[in-house]
Amino acid sequence: MATGKNNRIGIAILGGTLLIFLLFLGNISIGSVAIPLGETLSGLTGGGVSKKSWEIILLDYRIPKAITAILAGIALSLSGLQMQTFFRNPLAGPYVLGISSGAGLGVAILLLGGSAFGWNLLGDGGFMGIWGTIIAASTGAILVLVLMSLTAWRVKDSMTLLIIGLMFGSATGAMISVLSYFGGAEELKLFTIWSMGSFGGTSKDQVMVFFVACLLGIIPVLLFVKSFNAMLLGERYAESMGVNLYQLRWAMILSTGVLAGSATAICGPVAFIGIAVPHLARMVFKTGDHRILFPASSLIGAGFLLVCDSVSQMPGTAETLPINAVTSLFGAPLVIWLILKRNFSREF
């Protein structure tokens, strides 16, 4: 009986992985230049592509972009799930500890600070520009994370930590507003575009860095799966089952910091995924067990962002929609529909 259920979940996860691969293939085949699936496959397996321009598009642009989408989906969903369970709050997500806002502030200082303070950090744009944005976002995220950690040291209650995180978010948001107010029109547009999120424009190097960051961020998740299950009953029960809350909190802060921080640095603040995907995973897999929820959220997050990215390409046209608009426009109705249809358990 129990093993039958495990098998079903195993098959679901295997099927999900296969689906991700198909979505990945589809994603890199479409865009302003359509590439036949057969050519894409042969390009992937090293068989060569018949047109040189297709090869460049695939290897230098679309594959890094699709991998970025997958990594961002995994990173943001895992952060969201950890936070929702740790804080026992269904509304928690990567924004909650102010990490995304911190990254935003870093980028705002870089892009808008020029006109506000009279400096020019952007240089000549291009390659340096993108790395500059990533470095600024990471620095901002890490700074907020360090501040949060210093506070977390003093605060015992996780609800208080949640409120402090929201306050950090508000404060950094306000600083961004001030910078925007004094920023020049051109820089403001650059910043607005960054804040809409994008998977494009990442080089292979950056994808490698993102990949390593994700691996690092996933380690604490693996080590503490059992503790997250214990947290389903709340802090005091978890403590009575031998969970070290202090360790768990640090694992959660570091893991979400690295995952959400790097995702925001590379793709900009991608909304919605962190909060919604864990709920989708609970609804689809009908479980609260984190041994299933962590892989399930990763799969759904990756698949969801691949689809959203494909949609944002608007196949057949040369235009691209901002990814943030697509995730929320498609995601919000989907989640509402699922909640209405599936008799969503409010006690998550």
């Binding site: 026992r88 080590l223 799966v225 059992k226 299950n229 214990a230 389903l232 009953l233 709340g234 005091r236 029960y237 403590e239 009575s240 089952m241 031998g242 969970v243 070290n244 609970r282 009908k286 479980t287 609260g288 067990d289 041994r291 358990s345 409010r346 006690e347 998550f348």
Partner: protein
């Protein structure tokens, strides 16, 4: 009592909180022991420090003074996981793991014993099933936690604590918010488990009458003074049970097993069937109705009948309400 049956021993324990540099004392002079195979009830007024004492036993809030020994070892030398293997709890915290099934929830009790992934092995499964059987929740195992009632949930939480399989189980007001039948059932269940599984079970409760019927041992925590421990019956007979009651307005009545007003108004005018007249007395007392000396009431049962005689006039009534209407209407 042999030493090896004592699971937990407290010696001159004082508990409290440290806030900054000032120590806030909650209670002191607490000496106690918990024995294997016994159900112990901890009773005391709200705010007297019962929860703090439990936190001290769980090693979450170390005592300011004195020692708490678990099987001879000081609690503070045991790390969280070692303690989790020995002590399990049922708390008052509301839980909301709506997506777990009952069996999964009970299985969480195995967390201190399983590997880093929390894989449930053969032995774990056997202990889980036996916990489910002991608490008689077998018919619920595949339901979602969100679908079961409060009384059922409380039994499932007891099953979870039982699956943690320590020597000691502590329950903080497990019967609060439950209906009367569920309260009786749960306390009886705990008694059965303590005796059959040779566990020491400590229950914080305010249900004095149910506790009297089920507990092997009472710990009374009065507002001031040391912890009083003895069998419930000895505490009642010696009158020490009254230390639970901070004011002199109420007293424990050893005849009825209830807490009653300490200055009962006696009604010598009432006579007759002893199954009936206490309830008439109770109704009159509650409504503050005095009886004049010239009134006499004779009650009989089967059928219940009240014969009120005043100045030679006899009237018969079939219900207490009618009697009261007669007595008050005259005034």
């Amino acid at each position: 009592m042999k030493e090896n049956t004592i699971i937990l021993r407290g010696e001159e324990v004082a508990i409290g909180y440290q806030k900054g540099k000032t120590i806030h004392w909650v209670a002191e002079d607490l000496s106690f022991s918990l024995k294997r195979g016994q159900l112990t009830c901890l009773l005391g007024p709200n705010g007297v420090g019962k929860s703090t004492l439990i936190k001290a036993i769980l090693g979450q809030n170390l005592p300011i003074k004195g020692k708490i020994l678990f099987q001879g070892e000081p609690i503070k030398t045991l790390d969280a996981n070692a303690l989790a293997k020995k002590v399990s709890v049922v708390l008052t915290d509301r839980i909301s793991p709506g997506n777990l099934t009952v069996r999964q929830l009970v299985g969480l009790g195995r967390i201190p014993f399983t590997n880093w992934l929390g894989t449930i092995g053969k032995e774990d499964r056997r202990i889980i099933e036996s916990a489910i059987e002991d608490t008689k929740v077998g018919y619920l195992t595949d339901k979602k936690v969100a679908e079961i009632s409060d009384g059922q949930l409380q039994k499932v939480m007891i099953a979870r604590a039982l699956a943690q399989d320590g020597e000691l189980m502590i329950l903080d007001e497990p019967t609060a918010h439950l209906d009367l039948v569920n309260r009786m059932e749960i306390m009886q269940l705990l008694r059965d488990i303590a005796h059959a599984r040779r566990k020491a079970i400590l229950v914080v409760t305010h249900d004095l009458d149910i506790a009297v019927e089920t507990a092997d041992e009472f710990w009374l925590m009065p507002c001031s003074g040391p912890l009083v421990t003895d069998t419930p019956e000895d505490l009642i007979l010696s009158g020490r049970i009254n230390q639970l009651l901070p004011s002199d307005l109420f007293r424990f009545n050893p005849l009825t097993g209830k807490i009653q007003s300490s200055t009962p108004v006696a009604y010598p005018q009432i006579q007759g069937a002893k199954e009936v007249f206490p309830w008439l007395q109770s109704a009159l007392r509650k409504n503050n109705i005095q009886l004049d000396t010239e009134v006499s009431i004779f009650v009989q049962k089967e059928p219940v009948l009240f014969i009120v005689e005043r100045l030679g006039i006899r009237k018969q009534f079939a219900s207490i309400r009618e009697v009261m209407d007669e007595l008050t209407g005259d005034r």
